[in-house]
């Protein structure tokens, strides 16, 4: 059992209702939407969520919605439902990162395992997201000089080297380094390395802090 919100999007109201009832019987929180446009008009859910999406909808189709949501692919995983899916459409959907592709009528256990899988992915993504936000917030509490020291520590530079680069004493760097560790709540240099690593791999620009003026 995985917690999270399931958004059911199907132009057929009776499919919407019945699938959401089935999900409710599994204690899922469910929202239903009659069209992709309807869904997009609402704010994307901020808590972990997944989509159960009909492939063949008038207007914006399921595949088009998937395309539109491509950026939030990790945070909003999609389970497709289809009345008569062509092989190419299903391959297409899976290639673009759908969790599963189920044909109607869909069986309870298949649907639930796909939904749980999707919600699990959403939660993982959500956790990563939260951790990253924390890392960013922590990093922002550092002064500019502390950020510069932090990045250098993470690169494995010694206090003496950093001091030489900044034209200051090893002792000053040692004090700054202590403050960095304290502000980031880091127990060890390894913690600092990991944090800087996470920020860098999320695409945050830390390289600016390597340029030292004065």
């Amino acid at each position: 059992m995985t917690d999270g919100l399931v958004c059911v999007i199907d132009d057929d109201p009776s499919v919407c209702r019945s699938v959401s009832r089935l999900l409710r019987s599994h204690n899922k929180r469910v929202e239903t939407y009659q069209s992709a446009g309807d869904f997009l008009e609402h704010r994307l859910p901020s808590s972990p969520a997944c989509l159960v999406l009909d492939l063949e909808m008038p207007g914006v189709s399921g595949l088009e919605l998937q395309q539109a949501l491509a950026a939030s692919r990790d945070t909003l995983p999609i389970v497709f439902l289809s009345g008569h899916a062509s092989v190419s459409a299903s391959v297409d959907a899976m290639k673009k990162g759908a969790v599963d592709f189920l044909s109607k009528p869909v069986d309870d256990s298949k649907l639930m395992s796909a939904v749980d899988d999707a919600l699990h992915r959403a939660q993982q993504a959500h956790k990563r997201r939260q951790a990253l936000d924390q890392d960013r917030a922590a990093f922002k509490t550092l002064t500019e000089r502390e950020q510069q020291v932090c990045v250098r520590v993470a690169r494995g530079m010694l206090n003496k080297q950093i001091g030489y680069e900044f034209g200051t004493t090893e002792k000053t760097i040692k004090v700054q380094r202590g403050r960095v560790m304290q502000k980031l709540g880091a127990q060890s240099v390894a913690d600092v390395v990991r944090l800087v690593d996470r920020l860098a791999s999320a695409g945050d620009k830390l390289s600016d802090h390597l340029n030292v003026e004065n």
Partner: protein, 390 residues
């Protein structure tokens, strides 16, 4: 008439000939009996770019394109034997080396005693015509390619029609029924889960059951509509000639049959087979059967793959008949009863609707389709429609 005036007249005749020689648009050469060039006319200097000095005194063979020398030799021999050559194609060289195709005629110039003084060689430039014939040939080929493409497209359209009508129908059928069926299943499974809880949620169960009934109603009314639609849809009928259908189908299938190594034999009845039917529907039916036949003969080596379309009059039963026969793998005995049943198929990607739809349409046209039992390998379908007697 005195000699003076005769002489004058001769001189003036000679002048006239000279002028004629100058203005004649063909290339005129005066050749010695051994084929040396003695004189040329203005057409040659104009069109081929030579001055008189370039050619006069040289062998005619030098003036010809090297690849034509054998031909020239043959013409010289014929000339020696027959004293005449008429409009023979040969290539001569212009001053800039380009070839001109000419039609060459040779005639003797005789003295009063009948001895050969020289030859007149008149060559009609044929290069333009040759070029335009090449163009014509090219144009014909393009036309043929365009025609092939057109037929390929027709074939494609016929195929698409077939695929589309059946595919669409099957797809909309599947979609329209999948929705309520899907809803029914989900509601039933949800209801069962709510019922199995320690404290069953009766409200959800009631909701599920009400919706199950609703969706069942929906599926049923859809099926009723379909049935009604099929019954109402009488195809408007008119007089059609099965021979025309036969040829049309043969033409549409020609390319795809060739690609699949199948030989198509058309055996139209000698007299027209006019039946009451609907041309497009009947054509689709025959195409469908023929396509099945083409698929069926793939089990044979490509030289032996044969599809035969035959039409015949059956005055004794008052029907016109079209037969689609293949020498393929045949219909296994156990499959025969199910042959016209919807969704029965042996093809991996088939829907199993082709023959069942064929039969519905044929019956809607008051026709009949039979799988003919016989000894020979392969399959023979016979489709009959009511004959219109003249």
């Amino acid at each position: 008439m005195n000699i003076q005036s005769l002489d004058e007249r001769l001189v003036s005749l000679q002048d006239t000939l000279q002028q004629l020689f100058a203005i004649i648009p063909q290339y005129c050469y005066i050749l010695s009996p051994s084929f040396f060039i003695l004189n040329i006319n203005a057409a040659i200097t104009r069109a081929l770019g030579y001055s008189e000095g370039d050619l006069i005194g040289r062998s005619f063979a030098e003036h010809c394109a090297p690849e034509c020398l054998l031909k020239l030799q043959e013409l010289v021999e014929r000339w020696s034997a027959e004293r005449e050559v008429f409009n023979e194609e040969i290539a001569v060289l212009a001053k800039d080396g380009r070839r001109r195709i000419v039609l060459l005629s040779l005639a003797p110039i005789l003295d009063p005693d009948g001895n050969i003084l020289a030859l007149s060689a008149i060559a009609t430039d044929d290069t333009e015509r040759e070029a335009s014939e090449n163009e014509l040939h090219e144009a014909r080929q393009q036309l043929r390619r365009a025609e092939d493409e057109r037929i390929a497209m027709l074939e494609e359209i016929a195929h698409l029609n077939r695929e589309a009508s059946m595919g669409q129908m099957a797809a909309s059928l599947a979609h329209e029924l999948a929705q309520p069926l899907s809803a029914i299943l989900s509601n039933a499974q949800a209801a069962s889960r709510f019922a199995n809880r320690p404290a069953p949620n009766l409200e959800e169960i009631r909701g599920a059951l009400a919706e199950i009934i609703e969706d069942d109603e929906r599926a049923r009314s859809f099926l009723q509509n379909m049935r009604a639609m099929f019954q109402k849809q009488r195809i408007s009928r008119s007089a059609i000639d099965l021979n025309v259908i036969l040829r049309e189908v043969g033409r549409i299938l020609r390319n795809s049959a060739r690609r699949k190594g199948v030989q198509i034999r058309l055996k139209p009845s000698p007299e027209p087979v006019i039946v009451l039917g609907e041309a497009i529907a009947v054509q689709q039916i025959v195409l469908n059967l023929a396509n099945n036949g083409i698929d069926a003969v793939q089990c044979r080596p490509s030289r032996e793959r044969l599809l035969t379309l035959t039409t015949a009059l059956r005055t004794e039963t008052g029907s016109g008949m079209i037969q689609v026969e293949d020498n393929g793998c045949g219909v296994p005995y156990e499959h025969r009863p199910k042959l016209f049943v919807p969704f029965f198929t042996t093809k991996r990607d088939g829907l199993g609707l082709g023959l069942s739809i064929c039969r519905s349409v044929i019956e809607a046209l008051d026709g009949r389709i039979t799988l003919v039992e016989r000894e020979e390998p392969g399959t023979l379908f016979e489709v009959e429609f009511p004959l219109i007697l003249p």
